[in-house]
């Protein structure tokens, strides 16, 4: 593989003026700059959404109404969901994609560098719309992140702001995904066939396809809400021949693939990290590709398992139940492959590996509770209970977020040129995993006992578990600040990182110096 000549990174700059200061970041067309902005933005939104989660947990610390009034509580659950899904997790993985995909496939940049900048800079307007909607009369959208009518048809101006925020986020992620697909299909270094791409690239190829397929469907759904609200249409109004359940179908046709849009890049990161720290190639590379593709295809035909309680024909319930259970097969293939990668490997447990193993255990647990929920008869009992909340936080937090942390620790040396503080990293991991389980494990019991989600008050029998969960949530929230300290310390200084700081790591990204120069692979490497 070709190494990058040290001084090559200035050759690119001579013919045009490089803005400095804030304008560098506003106008940049560099995939590394844009990747960094995505990552910082997502962490900032993670803190904003996290504070909202803490408001929810503070209210639920004890029975009764203490901290916020019920309407604000509903706004908190809604914005927490929207911000974490669209503002924190998705941009985090797009940040990884921006930083790492060109480095992994040996391209100089993304296929459309200017559009890449726009994809990022559409996020702040959407964030402004979402957060400032808390201040308008009537407050923010308070319908839950799923924005179900008829509630959403009745709400105030904050709902309109949420709708337009979703539109802008959709434009951003569709453009970002078209960019990623094009980069992966067209910009690979000579010799890198599709089946030689690092698995992270494969997972993003599949994810980007899902985004392009379903974000427009969400745009259609919220457009119908908007016209129902303001222009007298009757899409979701039974009096006019429409049906609120129609919204749920359209929404979950988007919503279920969306779950995998969040999870699949997480699989990709873990598939890079586990082989590196097992010092073995990934077990079953091809089966990983096929399993990921199967998950993506299946994700289009299982949406109504979110809607068992709306009144569906039994045949429909049975079909969606069995189709949903099918997803456990490719997911199981992936989990077994990760375990088999570690089997007889020369394991070491640096922070990225710890987060990956944490992911492996807890994501699998989340998968199992998902399997429980896929059963119609059981789900009718558990629907909209805290069991569901526990389930999807196991896959979203311990799945997607932990994998994002694994990726961040894994690539921090490449980004900053310094090793991070391993002790603090491990502290971050152990605090996170303990407090995470303290927060969410008990919610399984709450749900099984019948505590409904999205309600600010609860019956006395749920008091102990809620108290434990709230203490865990505050612990989890505070321990995320450790990560901020680690990153800031790592940027400022620390032990110099070599081009390949992890001895088991494979891939083109480790052939460029650390920190990666501003411009890399201006002539493509030859990949063997």
């Amino acid at each position: 593989m070709a190494a990058i000549p040290g001084g090559a990174d200035h050759a690119h700059d001579h013919d045009h003026h490089q803005p400095s200061g804030i304008m560098r970041w506003v106008t940049t067309t560099n995939h590394k700059d844009i990747g960094s902005m995505y990552l910082w933005f997502s962490f900032a939104m993670f803190l904003v959404g996290g504070v909202m989660a803490l408001v929810i947990r503070a209210e639920l610390f004890q029975p009764g109404l203490q901290v916020v009034d019920p309407d604000r509580f509903n706004q908190m659950t809604t914005l927490h969901g929207l911000i974490m899904v669209f503002g924190a997790i998705m941009p985090a993985f797009v940040g990884f994609a921006n930083w790492m995909i060109p480095l992994m496939i040996g391209a100089s940049d993304m296929a459309f560098a200017r559009m890449n900048n726009w994809s990022f800079w559409l996020l702040p307007p959407a964030a402004i719309l979402l957060t400032s909607s808390l201040l308008v009369p009537g407050g923010a959208a308070a319908s839950g992140w799923t924005l179900y009518p008829p509630l959403t048809v009745q709400m105030g101006i904050g709902m309109d702001m949420a709708i337009f925020a979703v539109h802008i986020l959709g434009i951003s992620s569709i453009m970002g995904s078209i960019n990623i697909v094009t980069t992966l299909l067209n910009m690979r270094a000579p010799g890198m066939t599709l089946m030689k791409m690092p698995l992270f690239c494969w997972t993003w190829l599949i994810t980007a396809y899902l985004v392009i397929a379903v974000m427009p469907v969400l745009a259609g759904a919220v457009t119908m809400i908007l016209t129902d609200r303001h222009f007298g249409t009757s899409f979701f109004n039974a009096a006019g021949g429409g049906d609120p359940v129609l919204y749920q179908h359209i929404f979950w046709f988007f919503g279920h693939p969306e779950v995998y849009i969040i999870a699949i890049p997480a699989f990709g990161v873990v598939s890079q990290v586990i082989p590196a720290f097992s010092r073995k190639p990934l077990f079953g590379y091809a089966s990983m590709v096929y399993a990921t593709s199967s998950i993506a295809i299946l994700s289009f035909i299982v949406w109504a398992h979110h809607m068992y309680t709306v009144g569906m024909p039994v045949a429909g319930q049975l079909y969606f139940m069995f189709a949903t259970m099918l997803i456990a097969i490719p997911t199981g293939v992936k989990v077994f492959n990760w375990v088999a990668t570690m089997w007889r490997g020369s394991l070491s447990f640096e922070t990225p590996m710890l987060f990956s193993i944490g992911f492996l255990f807890l994501f699998t647990l989340g998968g199992f509770s998902g399997l429980v929920l896929s059963m119609t008869a059981v789900d009718i009992q558990l629907h909209d209970s805290y069991y569901v909340v526990a389930h999807f936080h196991y896959v979203m937090v311990a799945g997607a977020l932990f994998s994002a942390y694994a990726g961040a620790y894994y690539w921090l040396p490449k980004w900053t040129g310094h090793m991070y503080d391993e002790k603090l990293g491990k502290l971050h991991f152990w605090l996170s995993i303990v407090f995470f389980n303290m927060t969410f494990f008990v919610q399984h019991f709450l749900g099984l006992a019948g505590m409904p989600r999205r309600i600010p008050d609860y019956s006395l029998q749920f008091a102990e578990f809620n108290m434990i969960s709230s203490i865990g949530a505050f612990g989890f929230g505070l321990s995320q600040l450790v990560f901020l300290v680690v990153v800031l310390k790592c940027i400022k200084g620390g032990e110099k990182a070599s081009a390949k700081p992890w001895d088991g790591a494979e891939g083109l990204e480790w052939t460029v110096p650390s920190p990666a120069p501003h411009h890399t692979f201006e002539t493509p490497p030859v990949f063997k």
Partner: protein, 288 residues
């Protein structure tokens, strides 16, 4: 232009830093805020909305102009051309999925919600007079009798116009491929003309539906679907016709060669996509 300074196109094309994207972001923020304010009848809303639309149009103008100049300046190599092809294909796929949401809503209304509302259970409990028929404005509709738009008047004519425009566009493409610029210009002009006539008929049809047929946006689920589906299609025809006009201007400016003309092809792809959507609309909205 490119003829006197033949650049060696770089292996990778990476554009220099640009203020276009942030202009577009500000434009969309203004557009969103302006729409929110206007829809809630808050003062000043239309001005913010107008500022957003103007900024967006300005950004698109300068951005596409830049791309056209870069292309004509020989900065793009074959690889960049392939990137454009992939991205346009995926963009059209995303548009297909956007329309799929509305077509899905149409099928859902006709196959599930209307028959369900007219089921005996609902008739007994809610609306005794609910009927299972299409078009249907819902069991509680009280806007007076309405007549749906017949398929074999203007809509059939519009189908003919759009199909013809697809043919004239292909004819123009052949002109471009054989360096027959006259055929290219005439073909493009005819395509635009057919598109504009189509839009004129659409506008006439809407006014006719509102004033004579009593089909309105508020005519229950039928009116909702009719106007949203044909409206979004008409909006896409407008975009397509605008893009064709831009292409025609570029042809008059001497852009495109028989070898290098993806700008033309992308617009042609888009135009055919809009054409196919119309055929579906004609069948499921107007005809059956």
């Amino acid at each position: 232009m490119s003829s006197n300074t033949p650049h060696q196109a770089p292996y990778y094309f990476v554009p220099s830093p640009s203020t276009y994207p942030i202009t577009g972001s500000v434009a969309l923020l203004l557009f969103a805020l302006g729409s929110v304010l206007t829809m809630n009848a808050i003062q000043g809303g239309p001005y913010v909305l107008g500022a957003g639309i103007l900024t967006l149009l300005y950004m698109m103008f300068i951005w596409f102009r830049k791309v056209a100049h870069e292309s004509e300046g020989g900065l793009y190599n074959k690889r960049v051309g392939m990137s454009f092809r992939w991205s346009m294909g995926w963009f059209i796929f995303s548009e297909v999925m956007f329309f799929a949401a509305f077509f899905g809503a149409l099928f859902y209304a006709r196959v599930l919600s209307i028959p369900d509302l007219a089921s005996l259970e609902h008739q007994a409990l809610l609306w005794p007079e609910a009927t299972n028929a299409w078009p249907n404005a819902g069991p509680a509709y009280d806007g007076g009798p309405f007549t749906p738009m017949g398929a074999w008047g203007i809509p059939a004519l519009n189908t003919f116009l759009l199909l013809t425009s697809g043919a004239t566009l292909t004819w123009a493409h052949h002109g471009l491929l054989h360096d027959n610029r006259g055929q290219l210009k005439l073909g493009l002009f005819l395509t635009i003309l057919l598109g504009v006539v189509f839009l004129g008929f659409q506008v006439y049809e809407y006014t006719h539906a509102y004033s004579d047929l009593n089909v309105k946006l508020t005519t229950g689920v039928f009116g909702s679907l009719f106007y949203l589906l044909t409206g979004f299609h008409g909006f896409h025809v407008t975009i397509g016709a605008t893009m064709l006009i831009v292409i025609l201007c570029r042809v008059f400016a001497g852009h495109f060669t028989s070898q290098n003309h993806f700008g033309f092809e992308a617009v042609a792809w888009y135009w055919h996509f809009v054409d196919v959507v119309w055929l579906l609309l004609f069948v499921v909205v107007y005809w059956i």
